[in-house]
Amino acid sequence: MAGKTLYDKLWESHVVHEEADGTCLIYIDRHLVHEVTSPQAFEGLRLAGRKPWRNSSIVANPDHNTPTKDWDKGIEDPISRLQVETLDNNIKEFGALVYFPFKNKDQGIIHVIGPENGTTLPGMTVVCGDSHTSTHGAFGALAHGIGTSEVEHVLATQTLVAKKSKSMLVSVDGQLGKGVTAKDVALAIIGKIGTAGGTGYAIEFGGEVIRGLSMEGRMTLCNMAIEAGARAGLVAPDEKTAAYLEGRLHAPKGDNWTKAVTYWSTLKSEADATFDTVVVLNGAEIAPQVTWGTSPEQVLPIGSTVPDPAQEADATKRTSIENALKYMGLTANTPLDQIQLDKIFIGSCTNSRIEDLRAAAGVAKGKKVASNIKLAMVVPGSGQVKRQAEAEGLDKIFIEAGFEWREPGCSMCLAMNSDRLSPGERCASTSNRNFEGRQGPGGRTHLVSPEMAAAAAIAGHFVDVRSA
């Protein structure tokens, strides 16, 4: 019999009950909660007269609606304010292990604060009413996004009704070139397998490149697993994982730490484990990536030209390319490095951690944002990230270069607060989705790494950061 995969181990260690058709009740260790997808779940709990099964599993924080400047003015939009206050009230009523209300010094994007406070640990099951929960798989936790009905189900029962996914190994071998990041690896994988390539799968990322990534890089990669269609992405924990977690607020301490690290060392796929699908990429062949369309799979290496729909044989794909070019205001065969930009966004649960900001600042240092850029903004992922960046002087580098240095939050990744693109505006963004209207109605999003976004800000158009 073949050995177990990491996914097998995580799944099997959480099955509470199994029906004859394979439908299982899975125990949930950590429940992350934000203001957008939780109000109806808490209301459902209240209407049914139920209580949370284990409120110490809850880590909560508003992030989508919160403004990134003028915090002294509060939240101006009354509908946004009500949603944030509703979370305040729900946590007050039902309780949580961690709650950082709006303006708390540690508030931030839920997928940034979870790991940095040691509330995401290897071997856990982690859920959140948010598709980018896949981020936490970077720690070897089985983590995935759920809907609001499931948020209520987890609150009430500490379990999720689920069926086991198929398993996929994405192995990225060799070494990454200079200027090539975890974001480029994620986009290259999506470009190869497509946005539905991972549908029905839990993806384990392995290979020399993945082992070489920092925890921040692994989080970027797993964050984008959902953009490949996979609810969960996984990286086996190793010494980097333990080094990242040691000493964090809710990480195990003393004897528990020793026991935990011993247990975590067993969380890996066995050498003779088999996967339903295996995809292999050569790290050396991955160049910095830029999306040109309205789906993350519409991506190409810098140095390429915008695709020509006339060259596409498949009718549905041809229509998709035509629709995308029309929406994006692009002409076929235009070199990517000639695309002029209006705005730059560095932030989001994909790329707002300290390492991302260091990398972007490294490119921007001593330079100036180009005159055609109307706004270049840097939005740190959390209060902790912001303080760390300021301690290192990164804020000054950005401000001197002409970037705005903002307060933490989801910001223009999805433009639920007032940070958004105007119709027709074109943005180089370190976020995760280039869907129509994602960053504002009529806005045009190109997904890139923090280095590529910073280099584009300086040049006013895309450039190859390796030669910038």
């Binding site: 009500l82 809907g147 946005t195 789906s295």
Partner: protein, 212 residues
């Protein structure tokens, strides 16, 4: 949850692949703390020519006449015919809430995104996976015949076209049972409360740091 048994419904064809949940219901409507009232904002950016805001009266907004949902022949549709990877992107359950509130009870596509697919079942919507060839053929028939309807029988797991052709679809027995009977999933799970408690104790003994 609303039960689903059978439906004979008008079909609306949405001929786009990779329809994401941002397109199904844009972010500004996610600020609502309610579960209902999203129907008028379904596909908001494609459906209207002005920018939609929560609370807006949609009956006076300018319509994009080219968008299928606005065409007179598809008014009252209950079956949404779609392309590959329908419902990709964000986990927002507001997407199925908007679809259901608009009056759709069935979505047929060659493939769905996982989270969206799962969210449909929690809201009395039946998502049906059909082969690409089957979906192609339904698109052709639907476009060629005004008033095109499909008959969907969940118990038999069969979809029948007006000309009497039919195809079957898969669904797990658990989902089928819950949907046919409109069951409250939380209530069902709590029947296993003792098993959850027993698991929790064993889990805590093995990994006490998870409960610190």
């Amino acid at each position: 949850m609303k039960a689903f048994t059978t439906l004979n419904g008008l079909v609306c064809p949405l001929d786009r692949a990779n329809v994401d949940t941002d397109a199904i219901i844009p972010k500004q409507f996610l600020k609502s703390i309610k579960r209902s009232g999203f129907g008028p904002y379904l596909f908001d950016e494609w459906r209207y020519t002005n920018y939609g805001e929560p609370g807006m009266d949609c009956s006076t907004r300018p319509l994009n006449k080219d968008f299928v949902l606005n065409q007179p022949r598809y008014q009252g549709a209950q079956v949404l015919l779609a392309r590959d990877n329908f419902g990709c992107g964000s986990s927002r359950e507001h997407a199925p809430w908007a679809i259901e509130d608009q009056g759709f009870r069935v979505i047929i596509a060659p493939s769905f995104a996982d989270i969206f697919f799962n969210n449909c079942y929690k809201n009395g919507i039946l998502p049906i996976v059909a082969s690409s060839e089957q979906v192609d053929s339904l698109f052709k028939e639907c476009l060629a015949n005004e008033g095109y309807t499909l008959n969907v029988d969940l118990e038999a797991q069969v979809v029948t076209t007006p000309s009497g052709q039919s195809f079957s679809f898969d669904i797990t027995p658990t989902r089928k049972h819950n949907l046919l009977n409109g069951l409250d999933e939380i209530g069902l799970t709590l029947q296993h409360a003792d098993a959850i408690k027993a698991f929790e104790q064993k889990h805590q003994a093995a990994q006490p740091w998870l409960f610190a």
